[in-house]
Symmetry: C2
Subunit: 562 residues, 2 copies
């Protein structure tokens, strides 16, 4: 419209141009694999580059891909770990008008092939450590025209269409004039983990990517600025590493990438040596870090992490006990929540004015998933689709809307998850949650993991978090087991800490003060480990299949009945 504001489009080249023109000297640090030790474990090599170099190579990648004949909207897949090369693809692929399709490296090769075919990817960027998969992938994906290998390989792979990424990039002319892009054009895509049914594709647009990057930066979200050093442990192959590669580039923060390494010792050392101020990952990663920090402190050689201002945790609910444990190391953990379908940032769990973050009330609030970031709306509905009160008590299906929430899956699949209320489109998260009058959202469960006992709902997540606070418990999953009278009753599956043991009665006594009597698990079984899926979450479906027929009588101790 004439006489108002410019209709400047929100597009990824804006981000690329900022690191090129404002932040060229800022560093990007990556742990690469330099070789293998005698046990076959990877040996780390620390690689340093700058935003200026990344920008140049991203523009060369963009130019090279268009030189291969790719057209606007074509998909370019990555099967890669966190590194500067993946960052180049994050910036270069969408800036060429192409769509960056990050594929989860933890999936089975057959699923990877299915996803590459479903997305109709024309080019694949594959990490050198996965190069052995190339023949299989080529055979399974006839549409795939080119494969670029990220990092050196012991010898060239003499297959048609297979290239060394660095050679390809440095042999290409940089793209200096970006294609005309509408902000609603696709920029990236990611498939849901697909624990039920086939994976579904979510398309991120240029607009959603830019808006998400800006909304992530303020202090009540992730607190990113130029003076920060950020280590996203959360993988770049899943939901854009929570958008951090884009947010950090937009604001000029140093980026640190751990590649294939995620053990406590490597992470702690990297946090210390690269003076990291902000890091982000799933609870299982932080469990490993916590053990290493405890070990080092007990050994009288604590890590120097005084500059580390914020550990962001998401992907699964963070137990309050973990937030408290990090506070004992003087480290602030901030819980955030989102999904593949929400880019992901939906909420962040800061503490409002007037509440001490290290008080009991503060920790309780921080154990919730938090309040919506700007432009995100949350709602609760019952099974008939009617709105439920935001009273902090009533559990309902959590629904969400906003400019970085999917309006449908790729190719229109899974339509039942999207629906209108009063002409406004909402996405059904599949989570069961409460909302309170300050806007705090607290996930109670995945709808499919809820335990339906005698017509009432029991939150498996609440029980797990309470049980995990017990000092003898390393991990815990609570699942439904069949029950002739109550339909379902809770069963706790517990992995004890090394060298420790605990009984069902002890656990029930421990958590009893926090719950109604009928919520308490009927039984506890001990396990050596819990199955973990491709995105780092417990695979409760597998546990349920394993223990569905379990009855309280089979367990070590007498069941409590409601």
């Amino acid at each position: 419209m004439h006489g108002t504001m410019m209709d400047t489009q929100l597009t990824v080249p804006t981000i690329l141009e900022r690191i090129r023109t404002q932040y060229a000297p800022r560093e990007v640090v990556s742990l690469l694999v330099a070789g293998r030790d005698e046990a076959g474990n990877p040996i780390a090599h620390k690689h340093r580059t700058t935003y200026g170099q990344v920008a140049d190579r991203a523009r060369r990648l963009a130019g090279g891909l268009l030189g291969l004949g790719l057209q606007k909207g074509d998909r370019v897949a990555t099967l890669a770990v966190n590194s500067f090369r993946h960052l180049e693809a994050y910036l270069g692929v969408p800036s060429a008008g192409l769509v960056l399709h990050t594929v989860n490296i933890r999936l089975h090769p057959e699923q990877i092939g299915w996803i590459l075919n479903h997305a109709e990817d024309r080019v694949l960027l594959i990490e050198n450590v996965f190069a052995a998969m190339i023949p299989t992938i080529k055979a399974a994906c006839p549409r795939l025209e080119h494969i670029l290998i990220l990092g050196p390989t012991p010898q060239p792979i003499p297959l048609p269409g297979v290239h060394d990424y660095d050679t390809f990039v440095m042999g290409s002319e940089p793209l200096t004039r970006y294609p005309d892009l509408n902000e609603h054009d696709a920029a990236a895509m990611c498939y849901t983990s697909g624990t039920t049914g086939n994976p579904k594709g979510v398309i991120y647009t240029h607009r959603s990517t830019v808006l998400h990057s800006i909304v992530s930066a303020p202090k009540d979200a992730l607190n990113v600025g130029e003076r920060d050093s950020v280590l996203p442990i959360v993988p770049m192959f899943h939901v854009n590493a929570w958008g951090l590669p884009y947010t950090c580039a937009l604001y000029g923060a140093k980026q640190v990438y751990a590649g294939v390494f995620s053990d406590g010792r490597t992470v702690a050392t990297l946090l210390q040596d690269e003076a990291v101020t902000i890091t982000a990952g799933v609870p299982t990663i932080w469990m490993g870090l916590l053990a290493e920090l405890d070990r080092a402190a007990a050994a009288g050689e604590p890590y120097q992490l005084s500059g580390l201002e914020r550990l962001v945790v998401g992907g699964s609910a963070a137990p309050e006990s973990m937030i408290r444990a990090f506070q004992r190391h003087k480290l602030d953990m901030l819980q955030a929540w989102g999904m593949t379908e929400t880019h992901p940032l939906g909420t962040a769990s800061g503490v409002p004015v007037g509440v001490d973050p290290t008080s009991d009330e503060g920790f309780a609030l921080r154990a919730k998933q938090g309040r919506p970031v700007p432009l995100i709306e949350l709602g609760l509905i019952d099974e008939a689709g009617q709105p439920l009160p935001h009273d902090g008590q009533t559990m309902g299906r959590l629904i969400i809307r906003g400019p970085w929430v999917a309006n449908a899956y790729f190719k229109g699949e899974g339509q039942s998850n999207f629906f209108e209320i009063d002409g406004q489109l909402w996405f059904d998260t599949g989570d069961i949650a409460t909302l309170d009058d300050r806007g705090y959202m607290h996930i109670q469960d995945r709808a499919k993991d809820l335990i339906k006992s005698g017509g009432e709902w029991i939150s498996s997540v609440d029980l797990e978090n309470a049980i995990m606070a017990h000092p003898a418990v390393a991990q815990c999953a609570v699942i439904a087991m069949d029950h002739p009278k109550w339909d379902e009753r809770p069963l706790a599956v517990v992995v004890p800490r090394e060298g420790q043991s605990v009984t069902h009665a002890e656990l029930v006594d421990f958590i009893a003060p926090k719950f109604a009597r009928w919520w308490l698990p009927d039984a506890t079984v001990m396990a050596e480990s819990l199955p973990i899926g491709a995105t780092g979450k417990f695979l409760k479906r597998e546990l349920r299949e394993q223990y569905r027929g379990h009855s309280a009588a089979q367990t070590e101790s007498a069941p409590e009945r409601q």
Copy 2:
């Protein structure tokens, strides 16, 4: 598009709904006028309310205005100071689909009438302290149907269509369902100060308002979050008080408003008593605050401002000496730059990693206007419209583009300020600036204030800032005087500090080490004060008219010649 992201619109009701649903208990503090002392000066009364109350009243105002028959896009003017009532209008008027037109209270009543007529305002919200103007305005503006008086008046004003705002608001039903709004719809408007020609209207859209609010929040811009207490001294009647009312509401920061009060003592006391963390204003305000802080410190009764993290300065270039002076009080001043046409935030002058903000290099960078915030692009062109290098040396006309930059003035006026380069629309700021390879922009002058001496440009702003660092100088403006050989030569107009004096020779000696010899002013004249316009800037045009015929021979000391 199907299978991508929701096309959720970026609109002002999003901001209103956040304070209503997330931040209802957060305070809004306003200094109102309780009466007059014997000398006729206003006496302050401190008013406290909450975001919950503001949201309720804003929705009532929206409902009431629609009840008057106003239609989408109709303009509602305000002639008001900073207060909670003005904030209600900021949120309520655009949420009703109407356009908030803030009018500069410092304009002459005739200009005010001209602007109200030009904008075709249907309703005016007027501060009670200006109620005496109502008959004049009504006579001049026949289109104006309703006038709402903000705050109590000694007696009712018995004119048709004149109402008490509070009565009107509390007698109206709240709007609970917002109209369908497109993000490109107009939300607010503001006229340029119009030092040349008629004022021109700039229309802010819902999209630009929301984007500007989000981009303002991160720490490399204004650093606003829920735990902040923000005092915008910058007036709400001009460029939306730099967007702070919206940014603070979106993020839940407490807002503090000083109303008609802007003297150093009132501001310092308010900063202290309301535990303000962020404040924003023009240099003249900070000069007054600085004098008060110096006075109080010298008297051994310093203000307690340890929580004050950031003084944002804009509107005119902040001299480095002022930034250093505040640092001596342990207060960080951040320079920002923008214009009515840019909403206003264009740049912020943070210091990059590796530079100590209190080193000489740090202060020098902070005295520049800074680097563009995300989504804003800057360029430099010569008089033929050709791009100039970003080398930190070359001066050129500063051009700007971005999603909160005007694409034209209201009713299509002033078209020569908008032009395309390679199909992209740019706005010519009328400023002369340099840009460097890190993105730092440094305003050298307004194009019309540049001194053109022998075909070369001399920056009046650089000279002023250097002269103002002299301890005997309170204020300084450097302007062009006619010269038979060089066309123009610089003349310094200086207001000495009370009880001090300084000569031309002393000033030239003081600044000579910083400038080429031919830049140095030929003459200095002393003045008791400098003329200040409606937006708080020196009126150089008036000074130039006054001194155009001045020659170096007339001054107290012998001229230096190039």
